[in-house]
């Protein structure tokens, strides 16, 4: 099966998609992720966490390109993005 794997350069052409994980209790509501998401995927929610901050919420999940910028900017290790490889799986099958 490995034989039939799609070559990597073709894989690269695909627009990656991301699945966001927000660890709300850790978030301090700084808004860095919201401000700098190139795709406007996030916004601060109205919700309070127990420290009194508004964690972000995902408003345009389908837009997320798994660029990880929200993750690397987050000073509180409170958000990260996992790549969803749907299409690649299809090819592999």
């Amino acid at each position: 099966m490995a034989f039939w794997r799609t070559p990597l350069d073709i894989d690269k052409l695909k627009i990656p998609k991301g699945e966001l994980h927000i660890i709300k209790e850790r978030c301090k509501g700084c808004g860095f992720c919201v401000e700098y998401c190139p795709k406007g995927v996030l916004q601060l929610s109205d919700e309070f966490n127990s420290k009194g901050y508004h964690p972000p919420e995902v408003v345009k999940p389908e837009e997320c390109v798994n660029c990880d910028l929200c993750e690397v900017l987050c000073p509180d290790f409170a958000i990260y993005c996992v790549r969803i490889e749907e299409e690649e799986e299809e090819v592999d099958n």
Partner: protein, 187 residues
């Protein structure tokens, strides 16, 4: 009168320390009492929970720390939770109604809530929340003449903001007076 121990608790930025400062100043400068203010410092206080403690007394305060407050002023639920169990019997809880959810009043704790944030927002400056609380505190605790507190507010807030703050104080105070009357009426 024996010493009254007061703890004010809330979040950084809510003006918790100033609140304690004004109470202490009112008592010691404008009411001929003694008042010792202490506060929790520390990196752990960075932006999150913070608290101020005031001991008001007719004699010199010797032991400076509050251990079992007769009055707890709570501006955040976290702070309330952290300290509620230190409240002495027969004590008073003064709290911000929208931020703090008191859990029943065992041991005869008298509880007085005020939506101070809303009052403050209505005054156009959320930052005067603490002064609203203070006026309310003045009314419901009756620790000292309200004029002492007002004087202390006037001389402690940034120059130029006296009027706004006194207004905030008065609104809190009036709300407190009304509440007291109502509760008297209802008992």
């Amino acid at each position: 009168m024996a010493a009254t121990e007061i703890r004010i608790t809330g979040l950084g930025g809510q003006g918790v320390i100033l609140c304690g400062y004004i109470i202490g100043k009112a008592a010691s400068i404008y009411n001929e009492q003694h008042a010792t203010l202490t506060q929790s410092f520390g990196p752990e206080a960075r932006g999150s929970a913070c608290s101020a403690q005031v001991i008001v007394s007719d004699q010199r305060v010797l032991y400076p720390y509050v251990t079992a407050p007769q009055i707890l002023v709570a501006m955040s639920n976290d702070g309330y939770k952290k300290y509620k169990d230190t409240l002495a019997a027969e004590s008073i809880l003064v709290y911000e109604k929208d931020l703090v959810k008191p859990e029943g009043g065992g041991d005869g704790v008298r509880m007085f809530g005020i939506p101070a944030t809303r009052f403050a927002e209505e005054l156009g400056r959320k930052i005067v929340l603490n002064i609203v609380m203070l006026g309310f505190f003045g009314a419901v605790t009756d620790l000292m003449p309200v004029e002492a507190l007002r004087k202390a507010v006037e001389t402690s807030v940034p120059a130029g903001t006296e009027e706004l703050n006194l207004k905030a104080f008065d609104e809190g105070y009036e709300y407190g007076v009304k509440l007291l009357e109502e509760s008297k009426a209802s008992t």
